[in-house]
Symmetry: C2
Subunit: 338 residues, 2 copies
């Protein structure tokens, strides 16, 4: 079996740590693994399969002989170094937003648009976490009952802003319980026992960047440039799984609840959690640490004859980031792309 | 100036405490104040304007000579005792869901449908907290640009389930920070660092009771039986202010963002919090303890030519419950109903 030289840029971050776990636990066919980070992490080592691997500095020369380069070091680093990896012959799987809307870059959720990897020109982009989680619920329906419009409100975990943001949520909760003012370093607003509009920049439309990602990326991944999407993105005091309340209007007749449940339950990477009797529905604590997204609260919209409501929860670091990127690498191998 | 004999059923609860604060701070023209609760609270006293008032048992004989009876002791007590208060000559302002959809009972948000109090037959109902907060954002628009359809997702605080539920959120947060399993007594699911579908019973439509209240009460209060509403109600780890993400489709052309902002800013009981530059929008910590609901994130819906998106936050115990009930009493005096 062929083995691959893999590089991981951003090895010391929260998503990087999950990439390493996946490469280890799933026995990725590794010829070598190169850990890359910024200069200040050089000298650190990370345990991988019982070995202490050194962290090297991410530079343009980091990718000689590399087959696959995972980038999870922020958009700036991706823009600066991804082309060097491509020139060295690697396929880049980029977790940042740097190239997602580039028409030459496939934007891929393996369960949704796997064939798009075939058209890559060196870089494949991993979608935004909220987009991936939305699509895991939307696609099983859209494949059978084309979707016309989506109204989504998110309940996003602290992890989307990194490991330090997760710690900030816990530190603030402890401070507030002790009657102290919360320390704000990562988020602009108190996050513990509070929630706030996603703190990315807002453009002239009034939408913030996170919301526009959900709008644009959903259309690109589904090859549905006319699909109408509105999103409201909200940060909530949850550690690492995002939830989304989704209203879906279909082009034609809506599926029945049973039809929608069957389609969702049959879709890979999704678990139906929809028990009205026991009030058991998707919750972030249940989605945390799981590969699958949880979908439930499926019901006919009382306000529209062609719409359904549902609720989805998915681990932001796993399917929302590292797992989806890892699955893109597996897909590249399965399809003989590398 | 006329003074009124007032009774408060449910004086020892979280909403009862806010009623007492309002009666005290706003100098309600009281001839007398009778505090009522269940038998197990008899013997307790509550400080009111420097006096220790005794708590008496709520019975059918509690209302002799009473002008206004506030009920905030749960739907069961309202059903059992409200008619006794009416027979004794009182006007009942009921905070429970017992009579809200009764065609003989006005359901009133004073800023929205004040004239409805004139038709009362002894009982006036205080709407559900999520409904009131939605209407404070919706009504200023609906009055000028009639609304066709609303898609709302809530972010509901623990206080909606009472004072013990607020304590449970804090206790669980402390337990989880200490690495201990969370103690679940009030809520069926972990609430700290988690969220879950509102834990009221779900009927054959798939909607839970809280969601159906938002649908039905909104129509009744606005006298708009055809208004299309879908709601998804979610409990989040916030202490006492509810937030709601609202998508509003209008019958005709939508207002511009500036027109919508002006209408909302001019509406009594609402504060416009909508600064895109500084990312300042409604947050539950800012709504907590405030009389006004905060409205912002107003933007043209990219997915629909006749729709707007917005976000609202309001104190669940104040405008969502006690304050709205208190304002109904003020309205009764202003209109000469009592």
């Amino acid at each position: 079996m062929k083995q691959y030289h893999v590089a991981l840029a951003g090895a010391t971050g929260a998503v990087g740590a999950e990439f390493l776990k996946l490469l280890e636990e799933r026995d990725f066919p590794l010829a070598s693994l190169t850990l890359l980070a910024s200069a200040r992490s050089v000298g650190k080592t990370i345990m991988f399969k019982g070995e202490e691997l050194p962290v090297a500095e991410l530079t343009e020369d980091s990718f000689t002989g590399c087959d696959i380069a995972f980038f999870s070091a922020g958009g700036g680093r991706s823009k600066q170094y991804a082309q060097a990896a491509v020139k060295a012959g690697a396929v880049v799987i980029d977790n940042s937003s740097a190239f997602r809307m580039d028409p030459d870059v496939p934007l891929v959720v393996p369960e949704v648009n796997p064939d798009d990897v075939l058209a890559h020109k060196g870089i494949i982009a991993n979608p935004n976490c909220s987009t991936i989680i939305l699509l895991m619920a939307l696609t099983p329906l859209h494949q059978k009952w084309p979707v016309k419009r989506v109204v989504v409100s998110t309940y996003q975990a602290a992890s989307g802003a990194g490991a330090a943001a997760m710690r900030e949520l816990e530190v603030q909760a402890g401070e507030l319980l002790a009657g102290k003012p919360p320390t704000k370093e990562i988020f602009p607003h108190q996050v513990a026992f509070n929630l706030f509009s996603h703190n990315t920049a807002i453009n002239e439309t009034g939408y913030n960047e996170e919301e526009l990602k959900m709008v644009k990326e959903t259309r690109k991944i589904l090859h549905a440039p006319e699909l109408a999407v509105t999103a409201t993105c909200v940060r909530v005091p949850v550690l690492r799984a995002h939830s989304e309340s989704v209203n879906i209007e279909f082009v034609g007749e809506r599926p029945t609840v049973d039809e929608a449940r069957a389609a969702i339950a049959a879709f890979p990477g999704v678990i139906l959690v929809d028990d009205r009797e026991s009030n058991t529905f998707p919750m972030p604590v249940d989605a945390t640490g799981r590969d699958e997204c949880l979908v439930g609260r499926i019901r006919e919209d009382l306000s529209h004859p062609k719409a359904l409501d549902l609720f989805v929860a998915g681990d932001q670091i796993l399917k929302g980031a590292a797992l989806n990127g890892y699955q893109i690498a597996e897909l590249l191998i399965q399809r003989g792309v590398i």
